[in-house]
Symmetry: C2
Subunit: 448 residues, 2 copies
């Protein structure tokens, strides 16, 4: 991508941020090596300040990029996690002072191997950068994919991830003069998780706030015009979806706004293939150091929100709790099913033992049950007991994580309700209409 035509001259108060989901599954993604070469050439030419890449699954590809970009981006970090890594890599012109990785407690199911998310060890990486005299907390993440909008069995997991992401950003960014978050959130702009993340952290959407925008209509980042994208991926949306973001906020030390933003448009001029199945995002952020506290900085040191903000948060949190409760209900049901299968395995084992005992009890009598069937039954029994035990352990861990998140959300709700009581009159235009008591979730299981 040539830098957005609309972008002005880069000066010291400009921070160019780039984000791309690289679709870097070696031997499975199409034209993987060729695309990484294209990406490296473009990054070398464009000289963004901060490059946030997702799905760089192979460390070899990261090392290739690091070598190619050594002259333009002398600082980089690759976040390692899970079985095949987190896929997250950051390249920077500015010194990376410190890094921290937070692995999400839930990330799909290991037996859904064809979806593969579980093996990726999805996480949020934090890199603390020195930009001049300012400290920038740069977050890079990739949430669990949505494979079906209608029957999204991973929704509770993604809501938990969005919750943990906002918790992590809020608790680690107190020292930061500016916060930048980029990555593939796998959530649409109006999705619950996006609202949860943005309301709680006060982060602002570069696309929505850009003075100028050059890119695909509505800022879409997974589009049918991209040769790697199939209709199935964006159903039921006509032209595509927006799931990749660059978010930002300033502080009392630094006012920040998005001067321009651009995305690729499904193809790269002069190249036979696009960079990835996702579009690439570039945001031009403009800094005003030593500014007064700004509107976007909704949460002050003591965590105070305005009355309207609190009411909105209560609504979003109620919705999120409902979703997590649905997840708890499903996990409990799955664990019950698995428990019944363990019982079945044990019954089979007893049957086996009874068959084995026949010739032993009636000495000399030949075993009447065919040997082959006996051993096949034994193998089946062993497989059932092992498989179901592993599943039981897994569902227990899933349940604990969901319950832990629900506990945290209940605590947060208590705090919000307390704050709301402190506001004398309901604000006009306040979105909060439901009673503040715990709402019973309209429980349904996505797998019903």
């Amino acid at each position: 991508m040539d830098r957005c035509a609309s972008m002005g001259q880069k000066d010291s108060s400009t921070i160019l941020v780039f984000s791309l989901n690289c679709w870097g599954v070696r031997y499975m993604s199409k034209h993987c090596t060729q695309r990484f070469t294209m990406i490296a050439d473009m990054l070398l030419k464009e000289e963004h300040d901060i490059v946030l890449l997702q799905e760089v699954w192979s460390e070899k590809d990261y090392l290739f990029l690091r070598k190619k970009l050594s002259s333009s981006h002398s600082h980089s970090h690759y976040f390692k996690s899970g079985v095949i890594g987190s896929g997250l890599a950051i390249f920077s012109k500015h010194r990376i002072q410190d890094t921290l990785l937070y692995r999400y407690s839930l990330n799909g199911y290991p037996y859904m191997a064809h979806h593969g998310d579980w093996f990726g060890g999805k996480a949020v990486g934090l890199a603390i950068l020195n930009i001049g005299t300012l400290t920038a907390n740069v977050y890079l993440t990739h949430l669990h994919a949505e494979y079906s909008r209608e029957r999204d069995t991973y929704l509770p997991h993604r809501v938990v991830q969005a919750w943990e992401l906002q918790q992590f950003v809020r608790h680690t960014s107190a020292n930061a003069d500016m916060v930048i978050l980029g990555g593939d959130l796998n959530m649409h702009p109006q999705d619950l998780g996006t609202r949860l993340l943005m309301s709680y952290t006060g982060l602002r959407d570069a696309y929505a706030e850009a003075d100028q925008f050059d890119g695909f209509e509505n800022g879409l980042t997974l589009v049918l015009d991209n040769a790697f994208v199939s209709k199935k991926m964006v159903i039921p949306f006509e032209r595509g979806i927006r799931i990749d973001y660059i978010l930002f906020k300033g502080s009392s030390q630094a006012d920040i706004h998005c001067a321009s933003m651009c995305t690729t448009k499904g193809s790269v001029p002069g190249h036979p293939v696009p960079y990835s199945d996702h579009e690439a995002l570039t945001a031009e952020l403009k800094l005003d150091a030593h500014a007064a506290p700004q509107a976007g900085d909704v949460q002050s040191k003591s965590g105070h929100f305005s009355g309207d903000d609190v009411a909105k948060l209560v609504d979003i949190l109620t919705e999120a709790r409902t979703e997590v409760k649905v997840g708890i209900h499903c996990a409990e049901r799955m664990r019950k099913t698995v428990t019944r299968m363990v019982a079945m395995g044990l019954a089979l084992l007893l049957l086996e033992l009874a068959i084995a005992a026949v010739p032993w009890l009636a000495l000399g009598v030949e075993q009447a049950f065919p040997h082959t069937s006996f051993y096949l039954l034994a193998a089946l029994c062993f497989a059932i007991l092992l498989g179901t035990s592993l599943l039981y352990v897994f569902y227990t861990m899933e349940l604990k994580s969901l319950q832990g998140t629900e506990d945290q959300m209940r605590l947060a709700m208590g705090g919000l309700q307390e704050k709301l009581r402190g506001y004398p009159v309901a604000q006009p235009g306040c979105t909060h209409k439901k009673p503040l008591e715990e709402l019973e979730p309209n429980v349904f299981c996505p797998e019903d």
Copy 2:
């Protein structure tokens, strides 16, 4: 435990902090129910401000405590994680505003079921409390146990945990007016992990800084005088070891010092059994709000340490990196072994297929190989392939976590070296003597 005799009258500037590893393994720990009743009664009577409990493995025990303490400690939180929970519970007189849990990326091995640590999902819990107008970040943790001091195969895991703990505390405490950390660190005061934690965070040891101390000699917390403690647990130390801590630090907003500290001494007057196999700790912290920045607050906003501090950190970090590299070496070796076993399993599978093919190729010829052996071999083959595949996945994840930590440490070392270059002359009494280049670890494998 009656509150330390030495403790003065409690006023609003006093914060009483209590910490105890409860040894709450239902049906396995001795007198578990009786001990939880004793603990609840004591906590109800003593009315500490903050109660930090570890090894409350059963949620039923937490709920029992919460019910009993509802009048004295109206705020509480139970941190859920892993298969059987993190075991961490906090009870507080002051409002818990927010919580966050960080699961350590490494925590032993699932196949070491008799040690059980892996199933506990060890983590550090953060609870943000409002104490008057001040914000207190209270951390509660329990690190992996040390089962053998001489052949400590878990040392790299514990060093990674100590590293992640200090990272988590540093990055989440910028907003805090005071920081309190309590729990069972499973590390002696001079152990690498303890030094890593305390040097990086600037946390101070309540036992070492207390004006008055009443408790077991040298502040020991796992002592032979305790009826539940066997000689084997504290070998090769004569009377016991100190592995439980209350650490603290203030800020520019609040000076804080430890007025007194006390521990139980192996038994509880008037009771036939002690509270736990660990001793209970109580620290009386005194607050001076709005004080000037204090000595313990070594790290300012921009992360500046003094020249001596930096030299000390470089030494500790070098040692920690060596330990992590040992861990990487061992994990790589284990993964190689497992790979060979996978190959063996595949060879067995080929053998099986060859045997099965004999009667099929030579039509009509009776299978010469005994049926029983054939099926036993098949079961063995299946078990080897499944077991080794799971182990391969596990060791890959272990390797990723160790490498990730090593990357973070290398980055931190670069920053420290840069800082050190900024100091004109070596300070007298500076402990740093080694060259700053990467030291090659004296690699040995604890399992050699």
